[in-house]
């Protein structure tokens, strides 16, 4: 009770059974939560309940044996008309570690039209085996033929893990496959590991990166996860490696597919700069103050051979296009050098760039969270510091050019 004698509910202890409401003889207790509180309470109580359940509900031996029928780690190779998406090779890199930990094979699944070259590339990036389904029906990506084919392969060969890139295509495909196979799917994993029982530990950010959650697919197989591009490092390519190609007939026919692609229209307005692929990124945030001020970042970026990116604040202010946004709702990057200029470092931004090799933070506020992930920090006025860096690099270049003559 508080000093006025009103009952107060200890939220830490309340289980929301609401028996107290019924029990109170004078009807003094009422429980009210804001929708947000309710949501968090629901999630927490769900998690709470998950814990004790996980223990007594240990899969029985027979069930474990059944799960044990599933062996091998698969990576779905995404491509657009035969041009591979790099995330596929990144997944082969992380998949190799999982396969080693489990003592099983790493396989790539290549579905497409005229895509045998992707099988060879998959070997170069570490696949031991490739399941290849090559037919005209797969020329353009469509959910139905692709997911039916992946389900067909998974039901026939029973892999324990399937990894898919968390791209537009990959999310669409993985969602459909997991539904059909009635198995768990964890989106946007940032960490994948094997536990002592041989299960896949899938770690992903929740609540915009404030919390990390480790998720297990306890009762069903395969264990499916998607991973965003550039979250995992690119493995070494070794063109001398090879492996076994298992060819399968397409289990779907064109006549059965309701969805038809009539036309592909390349977007000419689309930004040609791919921030996710850049080695050097100069990113600006709210501190830039205007679209025009991004010019000073452009100058530094062009001096270094890098590209300009931004935080969500800069996109929302209309200073930069969405394609340049780094972070939770933008792109994930892992460049060699990342300049964070006038970016305070909201967690949503940090999750998109914290794996950069070297992070240089330039900010007026010495307490900005960006300094917690930065390699080097400069506390100061970006409008003085950034042009000074650009001028300094330019000067050194000129001296070097003059000296080498």
């Amino acid at each position: 009770m508080n000093e006025k004698g009103e009952p107060v509910i200890d939220l830490e202890k309340c289980t929301r059974c609401r028996l107290c409401i019924k029990a109170c003889p004078v009807g003094a207790i009422e429980i009210y939560f804001t929708p947000e509180e309710q949501k968090i309470l629901d999630e927490l109580s769900a998690k709470e309940r998950a814990k004790p359940e996980a223990a007594p509900e240990k899969p029985a031996e027979a069930h474990l044996a059944k799960l044990g029928e599933y062996r091998g780690v698969w990576v779905f190779v995404e491509h657009a008309e035969g041009r591979p998406a790099e995330v596929s090779w990144e997944l082969l890199g992380v998949g190799a570690g999982l396969a080693r930990a489990r003592g099983v094979e790493l396989a790539a699944v290549v579905i497409g039209d005229n895509v045998e070259h992707l099988a060879r590339e998959a070997f170069a990036y570490g696949a031991h085996k490739v399941y290849l389904v090559d037919a005209p029906v797969y020329h353009y990506y469509r959910t139905e033929p692709y997911y039916r084919t992946l389900c067909y392969l998974a039901e026939k060969y029973k892999p324990e893990i399937i990894l898919v890139g968390a791209t537009g295509l990959g999310r669409d495909l993985a969602g459909a496959v997991a539904t059909r196979l009635e198995t768990g799917l964890t989106a946007d994993c940032t960490g994948l590991a094997i536990d002592e029982r041989g299960f896949l530990l899938q770690t992903r950010p929740a609540f915009g990166g404030n919390i990390m959650a480790t998720i297990l697919t306890e009762r069903t197989r395969p264990q499916m996860a998607t991973v965003r591009p550039h979250v995992m490092p690119m493995p070494e390519k070794d063109a001398s490696r090879s492996g076994i190609i298992i060819r399968e007939e397409a289990p779907v026919r064109e006549e059965e597919i309701a969805v038809k692609v009539l036309e592909i229209i390349p977007d000419t307005r689309l930004d040609t700069v791919d921030v996710a692929a850049a080695d050097i990124i100069v990113a600006g945030g709210r501190g830039l103050g205007s679209a025009e001020n991004f010019r000073i970042l452009e100058e530094l970026a062009s001096e270094l051979g890098g590209v300009v990116a931004c935080s969500r604040a800069a996109v929302e202010a209309g200073w930069m296009p969405l394609e340049r946004q780094v972070g939770q709702t933008g792109k994930t990057v892992r460049p060699k050098i990342y300049f964070a200029v006038g970016i305070s470092g909201a967690i949503q931004h940090l999750v998109g760039m914290q794996d950069a090799e070297t992070i240089i933070a330039i900010n007026r506020d010495p307490h900005a969270p960006i300094f917690e992930v930065a390699t080097y920090g400069i506390v100061g006025d970006l409008f003085e510091v950034v042009p000074a860096i650009t001028a300094y690099i330019r000067k050194r270049r000129a001296e070097k050019a003059a000296g080498s003559k």
Partner: protein, 261 residues
């Protein structure tokens, strides 16, 4: 044209603070809104009804408070709203959510098109759309940025792909997820607001939906959260001091030393 729009109520901000002392979430009264991506789905449904007649039914699974989001949807032009709420639904992952939605949709009379937002603002997975289509056994097109033609049992749309657009045709009924390029959502009308106050919003629970209890909520979730933890950031940056020129000089020297430039 009977259209179903699926929406989710989400906190207005994804920012959740943590009490570093007790390692618990700081629960503050953050305003709840309709998932921003879903407002485009709703607007597109209402526009299709205005052009082709029929009705727009909005459904949402969530705690009882999600009724607010459904009433807001009515004020924005939806004809009917149904809330799927039950303690048994709590803790659902995307699979269990899609299953629950699919059971509700099967209870409704015939429909031509189901529209969902491309993803939610909080969970961010984008999985419920494709999973729901698969459970209902209907064609699915993701990231639709324009509906080019829609008529009896036929739909032609423009969908965003990594390198541009695809024009796609399919039969109806179908499920699409839409991007924000598709339209500019309207503001609530006065008539809509009046209607939203009095409109019935039936709440369906596990009993009404006749669901298999092992397939909803936490029990029906194929994935289980086994641990939550807080990302560690103990690292401290090496702070470079001096005048702007000195800072620039020292930074470049360090980058050169590390052979980065």
């Amino acid at each position: 044209m009977n259209i179903i729009v699926c929406i989710k109520q989400v906190p207005k901000t994804a920012q959740v603070k943590i009490d570093s002392r007790t390692n618990t979430l700081i629960r503050q009264g953050v305003e709840s809104i309709i998932n921003p991506f879903d407002t485009y789905a709703l607007e597109e449904g209402v526009r299709l009804r205005e052009r082709h007649g029929g009705k727009v039914t909005v459904i949402s699974m969530g705690p009882p408070q999600a009724e607010t989001a459904l009433r807001e949807a009515i004020s924005l032009g939806a004809d009917e709203a149904i809330l799927l709420t039950d303690r048994a639904f709590a803790g659902a992952d995307t699979w269990a959510t899609a299953y629950t939605l699919s059971r509700a949709i099967m209870r409704l009379a015939t429909y031509d098109l189901i529209i969902c937002g491309r993803q939610t603002f909080d969970g961010d997975t984008g999985q419920v759309g494709p999973e729901l289509a698969e459970m209902l056994g209907i064609p699915f097109v993701a990231y639709v940025s324009a509906i080019e033609e829609i008529r009896d049992r036929y739909l032609r749309v423009r969908r965003m792909v990594e390198e541009g657009y695809e024009v796609i045709e399919t039969g109806l009924p179908a499920l699409i997820t839409v991007t924000k390029e598709i339209n500019q959502p309207r503001l609530p009308s006065l008539r809509g607001i009046m209607k939203s106050k009095s409109a019935p919003v039936p709440a369906w629970g596990a009993k009404e939906l006749d669901v298999d209890p092992s397939r909803v909520g936490l029990n029906g979730s194929a994935t289980q959260v086994i641990r939550i933890f807080f990302p560690e950031r103990t690292h401290q940056a090496e702070i470079i001091t001096g005048s702007p020129e000195e800072q620039a000089d020292r930074l470049v020297a360090k980058l050169r030393e590390a052979r980065l430039i």
